[in-house]
Subunit: 366 residues, 2 copies
């Protein structure tokens, strides 16, 4: 049905009506006192979600822009960067670092698994001359539905003296992630996920340790420049014209998040994901990630039943039930489909999705 689509992809995610109406307001001047007041409030809200005292930079970009910001403000040509890879998005860090001229070391595990902290420790222990400067990782790997043990990994990296760079694009505002307490040095996220607003903004927080490394960056990125952002943030503004309407929408979304409370948000994501996983198992389908300890509460990847194809499942769900789910990516294309329970998703939505998926499978099996 026209205009009836329900998104269960890992982003964009559904946007609340209150936020859509805020988005549709006439833009105001980005150098006005009124906008600075909004920016200040949004900044405080982001720090609350990031669980950090560091500034959170707001970029007009997709999440990949914030990834480029991290690499482009830290890495010089020839620097050694260790990339922990459990899926496509972990691999993206390696691609960005290589295009920046870094020497990249990859620790890659079979997709569907998480990084074992012991494997990271082994690599870091061997690096006796402390040549590894940066270690990148994905908190919640959207391509597989696996959550990395960031707390343990970040502690090992801190102990070694390297800078930890964490992609929290699909975890912030959905899964517990304590930047300061866990000792994460650089944490990034994006708008169209747990933050419940449309795509177009990305966020990055860097602590003092990371800023020390940034100062030695010879040709830092201009558009995403940390020094410029920091300087402007002190005056409640941004170096370049920001996406004013999206920031006004974010102000509204953060208000909703505060009303619900972070712990309640995390609990809702967990409950919804567990309900989805149980329902999927109950209808005889297999989960791509069976290990409950690493299974994501934001994205669930499902294997199609014998004799039924992923494209047919997606097509039927979309055309008959107006529900959009994601295909697998690259090697996992047509082997899994992925359902998001990320952001503005209620228990009712999960039940609706399960009922629709059951009818879809039954019909396709005929």
């Amino acid at each position: 049905m026209y205009d009836k689509e329900f998104l269960m992809i890992p982003g964009p995610t559904p946007v609340p009506e209150r936020v859509l109406l805020a988005l549709a307001k006439h833009p105001i001047g980005h150098r006005s006192k009124e906008f600075s007041a909004i920016l200040r409030r949004v900044e405080e809200g982001l720090k609350w979600v990031f669980q950090t005292k560091s500034d959170v930079h707001i970029y007009t970009s997709s999440g990949t822009g914030a990834m480029c910001s991290a690499i482009g403000n830290l890495v010089n040509q020839g620097d050694k960067v260790l990339c922990l890879i459990i899926g496509n998005f972990g691999k993206r860090w390696a691609k960005i670092a290589k295009m920046r001229g870094a020497e990249v070391i990859e620790l890659e595990v079979p997709y569907g698994k998480a990084i074992n902290p012991d494997d990271l420790k082994e690599i870091l222990d061997k690096d006796v001359n402390k040549e590894i400067k940066i270690v990148t990782m994905t908190h919640n790997e959207t391509s597989t539905g696996v959550t990395n043990p960031v707390k343990e990994l970040a502690a090992l990296i801190k102990n070694h003296g390297a800078i930890s760079v964490v992609d929290g694009i699909t975890s912030l505002g959905a899964l517990e992630c304590r930047m300061d307490e866990w000792g994460i040095d650089v944490l990034i996220s994006g708008s169209q996920k747990g933050f419940m607003i449309p795509p177009g903004l990305a966020f990055l927080a860097a602590n003092d340790r990371a800023f020390e490394v940034h100062k030695k960056c010879v040709y830092p990125d201009f558009y995403f420049n940390w020094t410029d952002y920091k300087k402007n943030l002190e005056k409640d503004t941004t170096p370049w014209t920001p996406a004013v309407n999206l920031i006004v929408a974010l102000d509204s979304a953060l208000e909703m998040m505060k009303e619900e409370g972070l712990d309640n948000i995390f609990a809702r994501h967990k409950e919804n994901a567990m309900l989805l996983r149980q329902g999927i198992k109950d209808m005889g389908l297999k989960l791509f990630v069976e290990d409950e300890k690493i299974a994501s509460y934001a994205i669930t990847a499902v294997l199609p039943p014998e004799g039924v194809s992923v494209p047919d499942i997606r097509k039927t769900l979309k055309e008959k039930y107006d529900i959009t789910v994601a295909n697998g990516q690259n090697d996992l294309k047509d082997k899994i489909f992925r359902m998001g329970t990320l952001g503005f998703v209620s228990r009712r939505d999960v039940l609706t999705a399960l009922a629709s998926l059951k009818e879809t499978i039954d019909e396709l099996k005929k």
Copy 2:
């Protein structure tokens, strides 16, 4: 009055209701057929405004992002870049190129003037070994209200064999700019200006000559990567999650632009600016750019009358008349104020602004 603000700054500019309502629609999946169809239509619309057969890349960024894209996809460390500077935004090209490691030559004229093609010719003629690889310029310099003779400048650059890179952020969709016919190699623009949508998107078109230079770029920008954008555009998609809602809004704005027609749009901007200039002169104020041949039809910079300060004019216009005009930038701060007639601005708006400005000045002179 609350929610009554009228923007006469050089961006964000007023957004039509039809576009705001399009912006507020629920986001759809960016990898869907429906979104690809919108992207294809928007792409055709942008080519029409750019007056080019080349692809137009759509970035989720401010206009400065598109500037970084141009430099970051063309320039290697040590490359010679000539920057033609008639104001702040011309200077920004030089800053970006320097931060990229380029050897920058600056041709800077007093602010309020345009580049004289003879001065450019002299520099290019002296460059007998063709070491100058890139020449940057601003079409419409927002900080001063001056329009450069891009047609003449681009022709000289083409003749020399360098690549011309033109900032059309506040000119596209407002002033005549024929990319292909004038031989511009790289042309960029932004969303919150002549395109009548809120900030958050930037556009870049590069012709085949520019792409040949791009191929020799050793460490091209990752986020704004031309090769990736080109490859994805062939499949009616983007490499990273785009700002879906802003693109849907742009689709609606381009529809309005087609209804009006490019020539009518240019004529409206010219008429509105001429009406504004005449009205300002009639009330005894001085224009910062008196030469009609280089005065911008998008932005008009005005000198305050003796004994009246720019901050007081801006404050009164805002608080009593709900009209926001811009201050001067850097050295011109508090020396001029700038009024935009850019984008969704009608003759009625100009008359309103003139009447309000007249009352403001009369009151402040008392």
